[in-house]
Amino acid sequence: MNPLPGGRHYTQTEKNIMSSPARNWKTIESGPHTYEEALHPVVRKNYGKFKYHEIPKPGVLRHVAESGDTIWTVRAGTPRQDTVDMVRVLCDIADKYADGYLRFTVRNNVEFLTPNQENVEPMIAELESLGFPVGGTGMCVSSVAHTQGWLHCDIPATDASGVVKSMMDYVYKEFKDMQMPNKVRLSTSCCAINCGGQADIAIVVKHTRPPRINHDHLSTICELPKAVARCPVAAIRPTVVNGKRSLMVDEAKCICCGACFGACPAMEINHPEHSKFAVWVGGKNSNARTKPSTMSIVAHNLPNNPPRWPEVTEVIGKILTAYKAGGRPWERVGEWINRIGWKRFFEETGLTFDDNMIDSYRHARTTFNQSAHVRF
């Protein structure tokens, strides 16, 4: 071992610690898995030299390389919440039709790439017969970005995969077709942190009451200063309850965001009746035409109603119907709303604008209409 800065040498104890069997890591810290062996040979041959693509029909892409080589892609929806059995079935399809190669998209679809056009139709037929809807391309309603919910998360107010299944059953036809004005990205999240992300239409849990505090256990399971610091509106203060150190919430200040719950499990914010759903529209991640945008709240106080959440899917249906009818080609939901105006959006979807939808948080003023532009 080299001497340390300043010329000091390691003590024997330090040397023992740094070379003890406990530290004999066999682990190879490889990071991401390598990708070259996972690329189809035709893709590898034309890597970085693709020329253009077409979408001949829903769920099918045709990419042409500068060399003239063609690669076909068949895309299908998956539940994202898979099993090894399901993945093995997908591998069987990949072996049969795609030379043993497959990949997944950022929105949880599976893709099979093949240079053989004659494999496309049989692959579609087999995927459909196994229950995987072929689609998710072009101007469709693509699958839902979501996370874990009651299956696994430690702070969820609702489920995720169940909500996704309910939503995608509802919009199934639009996943398999390309009849929307532009692509529609959906997301769902089981708490206000919104791990599903910004989307054209998002349904996100909204808590409506401050947390209920477990004073008996708080000081043994939580680091109090962390919970205090976590509150964005400084509504949490230390206190003593029944002789034990604990925390209290200034309920008038509390905005029911649930940030403290993530830091301190003794500050329970989830409630079977008071954790509800809100619907958001207009999020856009791409730079095409308009800059990326965050989404706006257009409905709230919707019940958390497993196993099918009909009240929430109904609202999504209203929005999609109005958008499909009124959107011009290439307009995303947010762009459609910017053109027709929010007043018409609320009218055409039958949703109600209320004063809670006026921003009251950090950049509120930037959302006020600082102009005489008005729609009647």
């Binding site: 340390l4 104890t13 330090e14 680091e223 109090l224 200063p225 830091a263």
Partner: protein, 111 residues
């Protein structure tokens, strides 16, 4: 779950952390360390003392970078060496093992 030290039983959670932090003493620490296949030597005790003093003063466990800085400055190491030394002492990580053995609350969640 529980551990037994000098004939006294102390409650632990499923992760092996003390349920009642007031139960901690040095013998308990040794027992907790045994459960992690760690033999407590002087550098281990130095770190445990540092953690407990920090928690007493600030009511939170120090962030890992605070720990590595403290080790680095005390032992004249750079950041990387200090991190290696820390993981040498506690192979499963300072949060999981050092905090457990020091009788601090379990660090929280993924967000």
């Amino acid at each position: 779950m529980s551990i037994e030290v000098n004939g006294v039983s102390y409650e632990t959670d499923e992760n092996g952390y003390l349920v009642n932090l007031e139960d901690w003493n040095e013998d308990v620490a040794v027992k907790l360390a045994e459960g992690e296949d760690i033999r407590m030597e002087e550098p281990h005790w130095d770190l445990i003392k540092f953690l407990r003093n920090y928690y007493e003063e600030y009511q939170i466990a120090p962030a890992v970078k605070v720990l590595t800085k403290a080790i680095a400055s005390e032992k004249g190491m750079d950041k990387k060496e200090a991190s290696e030394f820390l993981y040498g002492m506690f192979p499963k990580g300072p949060a999981l093992q050092a905090c457990k053995i020091a009788g601090l609350p379990k660090p929280t969640g993924c967000v």
